[in-house]
Point group: C2
């Protein structure tokens, strides 16, 4: 196709899809009361980028008039990933003294990391300096490029060390005092203690990882074409193995396939038939967190592309030349020579978080447990969000008697529909699994819950009937996935809580406390799933969209371009990412080893 034509199409399609996406986000049906509650509830939060409210400056003038400025509370934030940045972006710092500690002085748009591995997008196009993000706050947020070594919960102190060891004038260790600590430190790679993984595998968590993978892919081709190698040796050097069939691993495999077949075969023609890509997945299907239509679409696409998918295999060890597996069905051992292995399975705990978990009595857990307000269980004034934490949702059955008692205003021992409807709004906010249960049963009204086993409406239920009606609700509880979307929503949620803290002390906005009476100060965090993409290469993608929609193919890839461009953290990165896509479209990907 003609170059100019390509550029024209690119701009045209991108423009159309952006408009489509905006329209699609705006046109949302609100079908029932339950849905309306949900919509209202989320109206003021929103993602990292969508949120455009300026922080309230109300408190400032009072301080100025008062002269006697009250000591601002010290907030220390650990981490500048999705959670931390999202928290900082919306925080009203007129009432807090904020300090941020992170070994990375930039925010990285991690969903584009697989694109960086093959040069579809440049590393610099997906990062934005934290100081740029926070500088709108007039420098009142301090950022330190350092690693947190230890959290001392008893003394409300953290100990840090600059990541620059060499040639630093002055002491590179320091400590910070906090009133509130926000742990948004993310997770690290989980090797499941598989031997040889740390030494011989690549990972895909940091920008540097992606850059290293890019160099290594080129290395594999350069070593495969060296003079004097046997064909078998060339094949080994060009065998790329991806361990883990989740979205990151699959996207990397797809990107690599495109890179090889669109660009590298042209400049390494002598070895173009020797390249192999293998995905090893311990489960029965790749992309098993997705709808099964997407999973099988991806498997068929990979089969057509010649990407080998090895399901039901568990990796037992990795050496510099071999990857050893166990077939989970037959129990047989198997091994393959490889040129490069990318390890992309699960998340592990950061040592500093592990140590902190022991201090707060969570030593036997994998991630920090928080309540629904993102407060770390077992200690005060410490919040945890993003990949290093998980929300421990309270079961409704634990509080069922208290809910019944609170609802049964006339102490009649039975609950009428009216009495139930009086508390249901608070119940739905406090126990989001109720709403999930209603949706899963296709019930549009909470009154439907109280129907008898034959499906007939009942006018009232006793405590046993009430327990029975809600007995399956807790099965809908799901732990949140370790995704950017969850982290960003948690950050935005928490900053909102901090911003309205004073107001909510007097006028709590949260649901009723069924057990102790009164109301919670804030509404609990609730995750809104906006959908999930899986780019599959060859300008095709699959997507799970809200409302159980599934979309696959070329148009979904364009939707992906559109969504990812619009979600960029700044106009600079948006401009760069779109520029990179166009550059790739016109000139292909660069294969220089830098």
């Amino acid at each position: 196709m003609n170059f100019l034509m390509k550029i024209y199409l690119l701009s045209l399609l991108y423009h159309d899809l952006l408009i489509f996406q905006i329209t699609w986000l705006q046109v949302k049906s609100q079908r029932s009361k339950v849905h309306r509650i949900r919509e209202n509830y989320w109206l003021s939060s929103g993602g990292l980028i969508a949120h455009a409210d300026s922080p309230s400056e109300g408190g400032k003038s009072i301080f100025e008039l008062n002269q006697k400025v009250p000591q601002k509370k010290k907030v220390v934030v650990l981490g500048t990933g999705w959670a931390g940045t999202s928290f900082l972006k919306d925080l009203d710092i007129s009432s807090y003294d904020v300090q941020v500690v992170s070994p990375r002085n930039y925010f990285a748009f991690t969903p584009l990391l697989p694109s960086v591995t093959c040069g579809t997008v440049e590393a610099r196009s997906i990062v934005e300096p934290v100081r740029n993000i926070i500088k709108k706050r007039n420098g009142e947020i301090n950022f330190w490029e350092a690693e947190c070594l230890k959290i001392d919960q008893a003394n409300r102190k953290i100990f840090c060390r600059s990541i620059i060891d060499e040639n630093l004038a002055g002491n590179n260790e320091f400590s910070l005092q906090y009133d509130y600590l926000i742990i948004a430190i993310g997770a690290q790679v989980n090797t499941f203690n598989t031997s040889g993984v740390l030494e011989h595998c690549h990972f895909l968590k940091e920008v540097e990882d992606a850059q290293k993978i890019r160099r290594t892919v080129i290395d594999c081709f350069e070593k495969a074409v060296l003079p004097g190698l046997t064909e078998e040796e060339r094949k080994t050097n060009l065998h790329f193995v991806v361990v883990g069939g989740g979205p990151t691993g699959i996207e990397f495999a797809a990107e690599l396939h495109d890179f090889v077949h669109e660009d590298l075969v042209n400049i390494y023609p002598s070895v173009k038939d020797l390249v192999n890509i293998t995905v090893i997945q311990s489960g029965d299907h790749i992309l098993n967190s997705f709808d099964e239509r997407i999973s099988s679409f991806a498997e068929r696409k990979f089969q057509r592309d010649g990407i080998q998918v090895l399901t039901g295999h568990r990796v037992v060890s990795v050496s510099d030349r071999l990857i050893n597996m166990k077939n989970k069905t037959t129990g047989n051992d198997d091994s393959m020579p490889h040129g490069m292995v990318v390890w992309s399975t699960g998340v592990g705990t950061h040592p500093v978080v592990k140590d902190f978990m022991e201090q707060v009595g969570q030593g036997n857990r994998r991630v920090l447990a928080t309540d629904e307000w993102l407060r770390v269980k077992g200690c005060e004034n410490v919040y945890a969000l993003g990949d290093c934490a998980t929300v421990d949702q309270k079961k409704i059955m634990e509080d069922i008697s208290e809910i019944f008692k609170a609802a049964d205003k006339d102490n009649s021992g039975t609950l009428t529909i009216e009495e139930f409807q009086d508390v249901i709004e608070d119940v739905i906010i406090r126990y989001p699994q109720v709403e999930l249960y209603l949706n899963s049963k296709h019930l549009f009204d909470v009154a439907d819950l109280l129907r008898d086993t034959d499906g007939n409406d009942r006018l009232e239920v006793d405590i046993e009937g009430f327990k029975l009606a809600l007995s399956h609700v807790d099965t809908q509880m799901k732990s949140l996935p370790a995704t950017a979307q969850v982290a960003a929503q948690q950050g935005a949620y928490l900053s909102r809580c901090f911003n309205i803290w004073d107001k909510c002390k007097d006028n709590p906005e949260g649901p009723r406390k069924f057990r102790s009476g009164g109301r919670h100060e804030f509404r609990p965090f609730r995750y809104r799933h906006l959908g999930q993409f899986a780019p599959l290469g060859g300008e095709q993608a699959a997507a799970e969209l809200p409302g159980d929609w599934v979309s696959m193919g070329h148009s979904t890839q364009w939707l992906w371009y559109s969504v990812y461009a619009s979600k960029q953290v700044s106009w600079r990165t948006r401009f760069l990412v779109i520029g990179d896509w166009s550059r790739r479209y016109i000139f292909g990907r660069d294969s220089s080893r830098i």
Copy 2:
């Protein structure tokens, strides 16, 4: 200024300047016979990019008809810098079997390296894969990403090792046989054996060096703002020292000044007054290879910008915190604390070249000596070009008697003007210093050389008069600078020689051999200086243009943009470099530490 306005101006100015440059290159006066000779002589060479002739394919059909294909000569090229790439770009490979060995699988546009150090231009924008450059040859040029460890001149063999040590299936060492060897390996950093330089200084020779400098500059700011440092410690961390006042060092200092004052002060406001940049120069002036008007313009500009220039100082040692110098005038020792040192002085010899020099009896030299045809002295079939070599120009006084004898056709013992004019064309080609001498004396005709001491025309001279007339000519001999321009011209020259080899065997095109009779097969290499730029920051530059023109200021910076954009090796890099400049103009430079 409005953003859109900026973009508009950018495109407008760039367009205008490109046209101006093209016109300027086309309009060249040819004032005298001497100048005409020079022009004709250079008509078919040209720079790396300008040359667009397709290689002749004449030989091929003969081979095909003949069936008995003669063995192609094996040409091995070491290096993919300016010299190597320029040689490969124009080589007609129908008669050669070409193999290229280099540890870098890309060509880097090194004059833009200082821009990469501060993110004005991205590293990837200035590199082009070697395989892309040579693939038009249908893969008949083989490239190996490896380092040459040893040249075995006696057996016409080189020994190489892949730069990838780890995880390579197969042997990573190999050897290659050559009929002709082209050494275009470049030079390495010259520390002049100053202690601590290798350990504690940054260099600016490779793309990786520039990337490392970029990270370190950000590190210096990050360490300077850490809590708990004294002001003195912050100042030390922000003291940037450049050793060497040549074009590279000066351009880096200027780039750094712009980066600090245009971008970094905005995001590190607390330390903006603590930044210092110092240039240490052993000579009396910076940019002392340039016209002194440029040198003093640069010094004044640096003084206004607050960049400290320390002339007449020699660095004696560098430690992790201090740089120790000797004042060459007073003899006093002096030292300064530093946050970062960039060492940018002179070029040193690559170990493999050093070893080879010992094999060919040049062990006591600094760089490989070649004759005027770029053939390494002391051995056969080995050529050296670029920074690792220097052309040992023959002195005219060594051959003066032979020239006289050859010119004196009637053996009269005296030379008439006509006899002299008969040989002068060959003399000028063989001894380019004659032309330089004529230019320096503002003589437009060679006959003027033979005038007597009072300036009167003479009809004939004897051998003593002839010697006297040419006695000062050799003072004009200059060794060629170690620049990209020289290397590129040498590569283009040598490929032309290789391309016309068969033709010139029968019909030599070179000048007369005054000593042994007959003619040289090829014309000797002659360097054509096209000018030199020194960007000085703040959108100002200085330039030496052909014909002793000097240009300074903002318009020169635009000329610089124009020339550097047009000189890019591919449309891809041209597009990227211009994109980077525009991006910097609109969004500033990125300060993420990646």
